[in-house]
């Protein structure tokens, strides 16, 4: 059977992608941020999964104002990098995993998660920046990817509880897939940040640390947090953190932390990064 063995969280800041693409990661401003991913890059070279289920949000790239799906699952053979206004990022096309995606679509919809299914979808910095942070600048990505796009742009986004339950359903569905596959799940976005209005630049470091602690130890309770608290305590764009709960739900009740990194700032944003192993994964 297929199995979700590990989970990972990371911010997906667009300027981080531009910095990698322009070869500026060793500049004094950026070096501390990229140093925080060195442990993970080494770990990821030794632990290449068959598939990454990559939870992210589209930033008005694939989804125009005409269409606002709450959860959208990428079922295509491949996903091209989007042109977000600067031209597409110079990164490889992202290979999909259509057989597992079709299985997930069926399993999750029958499990009463009414997903939107995407067969033609460009992917923006929300998805490609995490791949670059973990896998660097390869000619081709070392793993296949199933994108799971979550609406955190238009209110209301899904509740944290709904996200957590979706993660649990993803775990059940993956385990019903016949082929032996090692699956990782990534939750991206966050941590505290606000990109709009007079309050822009908002960062809440103690809250971010508490969020990571609770995500590890007490995710079911964390999942009860209201949207209002995310916006009040983590800034308007801190709402992206609901996506981390999908990752956590998919790891099962207990998880072990392998690595954690936190840094301010990455452009306008607090960078948070965790690598977790499901307690059900053989060490």
């Amino acid at each position: 059977m297929a199995r979700i063995t590990h989970g990972l969280t990371t911010s997906h800041i667009p300027a981080v992608g531009a910095t990698i693409d322009q070869g500026r990661t060793q500049e004094p401003y950026w070096k501390p941020l990229f140093d925080g991913y060195e442990w993970t890059k080494a770990w990821a070279r030794e632990n290449v999964p068959d598939v990454v289920i990559l939870v992210y949000n589209d930033h008005a790239s694939a989804f125009t104002p005409a269409l606002v799906p709450t959860f959208a699952l990428g079922c295509a053979d491949e996903f091209p990098p989007a042109d977000e206004g600067y031209g597409p990022r110079p990164v490889p096309v992202v290979p999909g995993r259509p057989d597992l995606a079709a299985h997930l679509a069926e399993g999750l919809i029958l499990d009463e998660f009414d997903l939107t299914l995407m067969y033609d979808m460009p992917v923006d910095h929300g998805l490609t920046v995490p791949l670059s942070l973990i896998y660097g600048q390869p000619q081709a990505w070392p793993t296949t990817v199933i994108p799971l796009a979550v609406n955190v742009v238009q209110y209301p986004p899904p509740t944290g509880h709904r996200c957590f339950m979706l993660g649990q359903a993803i775990r059940r569905s993956v385990e019903r897939f016949d082929e032996n596959l090692n699956v990782h799940i990534w939750g991206t976005g966050g941590m505290s940040h606000q990109l709009q209005g007079p309050r822009a630049g908002f960062i809440n470091q103690p809250w971010d640390h508490a969020f990571m602690d609770r995500l590890l130890k007490d995710p079911a309770e964390l999942a009860r947090m209201k949207h209002l608290e995310y916006v009040r305590e983590a800034g308007a764009e801190g709402i992206e953190l609901v996506m981390w709960l999908i990752m956590r739900g998919a790891l099962g009740p207990e998880a072990e932390e392998l690595h954690r990194f936190y840094h301010v700032p990455g452009s306008n944003t607090a960078v948070g990064h965790m690598v977790l192993r499901s307690a059900e994964t053989p060490a």
Binding site: A15, H59, A60, Q196, G197, P198, A200, I203, V264
Partner: protein, 131 residues
């Protein structure tokens, strides 16, 4: 408006992008999406006013806010930052450069605030609690 929506109005300096804002900002946000094509970016840069008049159904107020690059005003008129990002990308600006313009701080001062740990939550949580 529901109580869900109203509660967010207590957070200072913040507009959440509700379904009703999405409706009022529809033409503005669709204009932004059009800038994802290089040919449209060129046409817009060549004559901004003509591009807005000929290709969009935005209100005069929305058009003026775009011409002024007044991002707070664009958000008040239904714009959302990830859509509006297509405008400042067309201008060759980063998120940090564009976002700083909404705070009333010079960009160097804004960046220094971020390097020093960001805007402190103190005083920025609640209008009614003054916190």
């Amino acid at each position: 408006m529901t109580s869900y929506t109203v509660e967010f109005d207590d957070i200072p300096g913040t507009r959440v992008f509700t379904a009703s804002r999405a409706k009022s900002g529809y033409a503005l946000n669709q204009f932004c999406m059009s800038l994802m094509k290089e040919a449209n970016r060129e046409r817009f840069k060549a004559d901004e006013r003509a591009y807005l008049d000929e290709t969009t159904r935005m209100s005069q107020e929305q058009k003026q806010a775009v011409l002024d690059r007044d991002y707070n005003k664009m958000i008040d008129l239904g714009g959302q930052i990830y859509f509006l990002a297509k405008i400042f990308a067309t201008d060759g600006l980063s998120y940090l450069q564009a976002v700083s313009t909404m705070t009333g701080m010079p960009v160097e001062e804004y960046q220094q605030m971020m390097i020093s740990g960001g805007r402190s939550p103190e005083g920025w949580r609640s209008i009614k609690d003054g916190d």
